[in-house]
Structure formats: C-alpha cells, structure tokens
C-alpha cells in the first residue's frame, strides 16, 4: 500500500525549502507536499531503503530533486528511483544551483525529466519552481503506473 502525494521535495537547505513551500502556496498549488532533507531520507520515503519510521512508501506525482545532498546525492536517488519498477516512471525534476554541462548531461542520462537551475526569480522567490510544479501536476499527462514516463 502506498500513500499518494503530489510533490516530493528533496532539498537539504531549509531556506530553499521554505522559499519553495511559500512559492507553491502563493501559486495556489494545494497538494500534499513531502519534504526529504537528504537523499537517504528521500529513498526511505519512496520505500527504496528500509526505514523503521516509514511504514507506507510515498508515490509522488512529481519529485523535485536537488543534486548536492548529504549522505546520498541526487544522482544516486535518481538512479535508484529509475531502477525500481514501482518508481521508474515518476517524473523527476532536477533543481540545482549548478548549470555545469556535465551535471545536466548526467542527470538526463540517468532519466531526469527536467532540469531547473536555482535562481533568484524577479517575479517572486521560488516562482519558477511553482510554475514547474503546476506544469507537471496539471498539464502533464502521466504514463500509467509502473511504466516509465
């Protein structure tokens, strides 16, 4: 049995988390949001890593994934996600402060669906993230469960 969650936000910087949550709230994205503060926690929430505190794995509609994370980095989370049939088709949006070519190339090679570079949005803090969330939640038509997006 799984929990349906709209968004899984994987971000270690509490400021970034707060800005993202505020932007999502202001943009009217009113869906459950799970926050993981590092890669291992994200894997645990997704049920890909045993954790005594996670009894029900989360099945998000979209994952916002930072690359530079404590313990297990974003690429490792992405790889594990894609390797598991249950999570192979979950849309993953990379949100990174890096715009290094290698980082971008590697992310897509591992199966990322989108790559956003963290920025100061003149329209409002975290606005770009909220818009991306709305696209994946409202405009995008996801594949049937268990199949890759």
């Amino acid at each position: 049995m799984t929990r349906g969650a709209a968004i899984l936000l994987v971000e270690d910087d509490r400021d970034e988390v707060d800005v993202a949550l505020r932007a999502l709230r202001l943009a009217g994205v009113d869906v459950p949001i799970e926050v993981a503060r590092d890669g291992q926690a994200a894997l645990a929430l997704l049920g890909l890593e045993p954790d005594p505190f996670v009894t029900t794995p989360v099945r998000p509609s979209v994952v916002f994934l930072d690359l530079k994370l404590p313990r297990v980095d974003g690429w490792e989370v992405l790889r594990r996600l894609r390797d598991h049939p249950e999570t192979a088709s979950v849309p993953v949006v990379i949100v990174s402060s890096s715009d290094e070519r290698d980082d971008v190339r590697r992310s897509y090679a591992l199966g990322a669906n989108s790559f956003l570079v963290k920025r100061f949005d003149e329209q409002g803090p975290g606005r770009y993230l909220a818009e991306a969330a709305r696209y994946w939640l409202e405009l995008n038509h996801p594949p049937p469960r268990g199949e890759r997006a």
């Binding site: 910087d13 505020r22 530079k68 963290k118 803090p125």
Partner: protein, 530 residues
C-alpha cells in the same frame, strides 16, 4: 661511487707465490740431476780407486816376490836377477829400474844398467835400512814425469839387503786410468803434488758441484787423492737447459696469470660498480616514481579542490546569497508599508544567518587553500601538549564548557606545528558539534607507533556517523547532516585531510552511530623528532 682498483697485492702475491713455486721446481730438477751425476761420478771414482790400489798392490806383490826369490836363492845368481827383473819390467812397464843394494848400502846391480846414474841410489849408502816396504816421493825431475821410489828390505836376519825401485807414476797411472771415466777430468794427488792429470775440468764454477774426491790408501803413509770433475763436453751433455726453460716459462706464465687476475679483479669491480649503479638507478627510478605519485596525488588534490571550489561558488556560496535575495524580496513583498513584526524579524534573522554562512564558507575555502599552499615548517611537535592548548581555544571559541579532554600517551613527531594545530582545531570542533546534546561528553586523544607510521586518534562520545558514508567524510563541502541540524561549512575535515596528506600521512574514521566517532590520522615516522 666507483673506485678504480689500484691495489696490486693480488697480482704481486700471485707472482711471488708462482715464482717461488717455479724456482722450487727448477731447484728440485737441478738437484735431482746433480744427485744423479754425483752418484755416477762416485761410482766411477770408487772403481778408479780400486783399480789404482789393485795395480799398486800387484806391483808391490811382484817386487816382494822378486825379493823373496832373492832371499831364497841368495848369493849372486845373475841369470836369476836378469830373468826376474826382466819379467817384472815386462809385467809392469812403469817400473823404470830395479836395483839391488847391499846391506852396507852399496849398489850391487841395477837393471837396466843405465839407471845406475840415478843420484838417489848413491844416497842409500850408510842410510839405515827400513824394516818394512817404504815409498819415497813422489818427485818430479826437471822436465820429467813424477816418480815414486820404493825400498823393500830383503834377506835373512842380519845379512839382508834392499831392493830399490823407481816407478814412473805417469806411466803407471796412465796405464790404469787412461780409459777410465770418459768425460771426466781426472787428477791424482799425493799431498799437494799432482801425480797424474788427464783432461781439463770445466771452467764453469757450477761444476764444483760435481767434483768428487776419493782417497786411495796404498800403504801406510801412502795416500792418494783421486778427483773426478766433469769436462766441458760432459757438462754440456749432462746439463740440458730444460730446467732453465721450465723456469723461464714458469716465471712468464705466473706473470701472465697475475696480469689476468688483476684484469679479472678490475672487471669484477667494474661489474660490481655497474650493478651498484644499476641498483642506484633503479632506486632513483623508484624515488622518481614515488615523487611523481606524490606530485600526482597533490595535483589530484588541487584539481579536486578546484572542482570543489567551483561547486562552492556555483552552489554552496550561491545558496546563502540566493537566500539573502529571496528573503529580502519576501520581506519587501510581505511587509511593504508595514513595521516589521516578529515574522519580519525572523526573515531578517534568516538574511543575517545566510550572510554569515556565506562569510564562513568563504573563510573555509580560504583556510583550505592556505592549508594546501603554505610551506611546511617541519620541527618536533609534542602533540599531547598541543592538543591541550588547542582544546582550550576551541572550547572558548565554541562557548562550550560541558566537555572533558583526556590525553593519553602520544609519540613524539615532527611536523608543521601550526598546521597540525589546525588539524586538532577542526577535529575538536567537529567532535564538539556532533556531540552537542549528548551526555558525559568526552574527547580522547591517543597515539601509537604502527610500523613506519605514528597513528593518532581523536575520539568523541557524540552521535557518530553511519560507516556507509565514511568515504564522504573528508571530501570538500561534504556534510553528513543537513545544514541547520549541525552548523558548519563542510570544509573542516577537508582541511584535516589536506594537511595530513601534505605531511605524507593519511586520515580515516570509524564510528558506531550513537556511541561516538573516532578520527585517525597517521604521520610517517621518518619525520620523527626523536
């Protein structure tokens, strides 16, 4: 370094020993030859002596016989005299004459008669008669050959006479010895007088070796010396030059052997030098290899730091600055036209903390850069004392009194005191941060010698870490906890790693979550202070 072998003791020794052997062989060959020659000469001499003795004895016996006939017949049987003397002189041609002397000393008859003129006969008158056969001489008359005179008492008691005879020694000895001992120069001495001589001895003084002298006692008081000496011809035939050739070849051979040995020694020495040079080159190669490895590691460190720095600028440093911008914008949006309330103050606080984080990050980066750049000043360091000193500083800086420091026995090392101090600052700060909130906090410093290394340990009683992530511990800007759970920049352990690596050591860590963490670093003992 290669030292050319100058010592000539080996070839000199070989030459000395070899020459001694050659000389000994030569001497032995010569001596053997001499021995053989002496023996043969000796045999010849013995034979000659016997012949001479026998000849004289038979001569004497014949004269004795003549005297005996005389004694028996008595009177004056001229015919008997003539017959006896004639027979005697035919048997012994060396007998010049035989005379009969009356008991008064008067010469009665002489055969041949021409010998009557011999002055010696006239000296017999009045001389006492000898009681036994007496030899007189030898005498050498001017221009003549040496001769021997013989007096033989004849006749009955009180009415006897004397038989006198003169014997030509040259003729006599010549007859006996002429054909004897060919190749030898023969001399017969009577006292100092040479009474017979045949052949010329070799003039080579070496021939004295082969001189053999034997005495022949013919009668009481009549002793002759017969000497044998090889002539030049014999010496030439006997003394083959083979031993000399052997000696010369031996000397030359040993000289060549010595030269070869010397050359061999030089060659061996050169090959040893070459081998040593090879080894030195190999060692140098290894050294270069190690130097290249070390340099490569350093370059890798630099590249890794550059990459990390790049990431810092693009990520770690960007995030706090982004936060400053974001929250400033939020403050503007949410509090436009309003006085800042508690939330506004919170936002301001966040801005301030982000700015502080950015400043700390910059400081950390600069620190790391310094740890990699600054020249090492290696000197003996008492790490135990340094640990106590640094602990006080760190406790004050972190405003954290609720912790105890235990310093065990630590071996003395050599290193850069300031940089090793930085290592302890970062390890202690780390220990304090990750043990905050735990009970009975204690930091233990220990050390031991392990092979070529001194291994030091800083252990805490904090929350520890998951061993799965041990490889990430010492990476630049790597953190095992989210930013707000444990404050820090992620540079501290990278600095520790960098400093220890620059000292030629390594760092590692062990932990059991909830029990504590143990950080180890090794320093090579080659830098030992003691």
């Amino acid at each position: 370094m290669y030292r050319r072998e100058r010592g000539l003791w080996l070839p000199a020794g070989i030459v000395l020993i070899g020459w001694a052997l050659s000389l000994a062989t030569w001497w032995s060959l010569i001596s053997e030859r001499r021995q053989a020659i002496v023996q043969s000469t000796d045999e010849l001499a013995a034979e000659s002596r016997q012949l001479v003795a026998k000849a004289v004895e038979s001569q004497l016996a014949a004269l004795d016989e003549l005297a005996r006939v005389w004694t028996v017949v008595g009177a004056d049987p001229s015919d008997h005299w003539q017959a006896g003397v004639g027979l005697l002189r035919r048997s012994f041609p060396s007998v010049d004459y035989v005379a009969w002397v009356q008991p008064g000393g008067e010469v009665d008859r002489v055969s041949p008669a021409s010998a009557r003129s011999d002055p010696w006969l006239s000296t017999l008158a009045g001389a006492p008669s000898p009681s036994d056969a007496t030899f007189i001489g030898p005498e050498r008359e001017a221009g003549g050959s040496p001769s021997l005179r013989l007096l033989l008492p004849v006749g009955r008691e009180g009415e006897g006479g004397l038989l006198a005879a003169r014997i030509d020694l040259e003729s006599q000895l010549g007859g006996i010895l002429r054909g004897m001992s060919p190749g030898y120069a023969l001399r017969v001495y009577w006292g100092d007088e040479v009474i017979f001589s045949r052949g010329e001895p070799s003039t080579n003084s070496w021939q004295e070796w082969w001189r053999v002298e034997r005495s022949v006692e013919l009668a009481p008081g009549l002793v002759w010396q017969v000497t044998h000496r090889p002539t030049d011809e014999l010496a030439t035939s006997l003394l083959t030059p083979i031993p000399h050739y052997l000696l010369a070849s031996g000397l030359a051979l040993w000289l060549i052997l010595a030269a070869l040995a010397h050359q061999l020694r030089i060659t061996l020495s050169q090959s040893r030098f070459l081998a040593a040079t090879n080894r030195a080159l190999e060692e140098r190669g290894d050294e270069l290899g190690r130097a290249v490895d070390q340099r490569t590691r350093e370059l890798e460190d630099v590249v890794s730091e550059l990459r990390a720095f790049n990431q810092t600028v693009s990520h770690d440093l960007r995030s706090p600055l982004g936060a400053v911008l974001n929250f400033t914008a939020i403050l503007e949006e949410d509090y436009r036209g309003r006085v800042l309330d508690a939330e506004g103050m919170e936002i301001l606080g966040r801005i301030r903390r982000s700015a502080i984080r950015a400043a700390r990050l910059l400081e950390g980066v600069l620190h790391l850069s310094r740890a990699g750049r600054v020249a090492l000043d290696i000197a003996p360091v008492d790490l135990g004392a340094l640990a106590r000193e640094i602990f006080v500083q760190v406790r004050v800086a972190e405003d954290d009194d609720d912790v105890e420091l235990v310093v065990g026995d630590v071996p003395a090392v050599a290193g850069d005191r300031d940089l090793l101090g930085d290592v302890l600052v970062n390890l202690f700060t780390n220990a304090l941060k990750y043990s905050r909130g735990c009970e009975k906090r204690r930091i233990t410093v220990a050390g031991r010698i392990d092979g070529d290394d001194c291994v030091f340990e800083v252990a805490d009683t904090g929350r520890g870490f998951d061993m799965r992530f041990k490889d990430k511990l010492f990476g630049t800007f790597e953190r095992l906890e989210a930013e707000h759970d444990v404050e820090g920049t992620g540079v501290g352990l990278a600095i520790v790693h960098r400093i220890v690596r620059r000292h030629g050591g390594r760092v590692w860590a062990q932990s059991e979550p909830g029990i504590g963490a143990r950080f180890f670093f090794s320093l090579p003992r080659t830098q030992d202070a003691s």
